[in-house]
Symmetry: C2
Subunit: 111 residues, 2 copies
DNA sequence: TTTAATACCTAAGCGTTTTAGGTATATTTG
DNA sequence: CAAATATACCTAAAACGCTTAGGTATTAAA
């Protein structure tokens, strides 16, 4: 992507969906996973950690600390509300893409 | 859409693309056009007018006033830079959708 | 004649992200 | 072995883009 950033508002969708796929993840792991599968979408820690804290505050995620060697990881998983919200977010994104296609009068994917 | 809003950053893409399709448009016309073809994407005037002013300031659009009866409309059209940026923005959006599909591991459109 | 639609605009506030740091442990490399 | 890089968490100021909530004025509809 020319512009360095992802479209604002999509970070939460990414987090929730990754946690739907993986059951338990810690913050740094999420940044690496995104880098691995979608190299153009840089998610920065400055955005990620506040987003995780907000999702936890909204009871969409729960957190638990796990010690690995001498280092502590904070693992997150979806709550029931989080699972529901994850589905909603995905639908929002699908709707957005469809509406954009109507306006742009072109398909947004080749697949 | 559940959430009332569009993904942040997409408004500029919408404006530029509509002006690619229509040559000349005024602000209010843009709001109505979007409402007409994508009823779920509400673009508000409070967002639109500052966005138009910024695009004009960045020399992607030029503006000219036209009197229609006793009422003045401010018509915008793309500059050469604007045409280039319009293409870039569309490519950015396409890239974004493709990268999101990789992360979500699902297609975002049925078409 | 009041309301709704057309047509422009601004400004405060809000939420999300960027930018730019900070701490500490573990591993790699020169 | 020392220094650099990677892992792992975090915060805070600032920028950014949008929402919300106004404002003015003209024209059309109820």
């Amino acid at each position: 992507m020319r512009s360095n950033s992802l479209f604002k508002g999509s970070l939460t969708t990414i987090i929730l969906t990754l946690l739907e796929q993986n059951e338990m993840m810690y913050g740094y792991e999420i940044t690496q996973k995104v880098k691995e599968i979608a190299n153009d979408l840089k998610i920065t820690e400055g955005a990620l950690y506040p987003a995780l804290h907000k999702l936890e505050g909204d009871s969409l995620l729960t957190a638990s600390f796990k010690k690995v060697g001498n280092r502590t990881r904070k693992y997150y998983k979806l709550t029931e509300n989080g699972k529901t919200e994850s589905v909603n977010r995905l639908n929002d994104l699908k709707d957005f893409v469809e509406q954009m296609q109507l306006i742009l009068n072109t398909k947004l994917t080749t697949q």
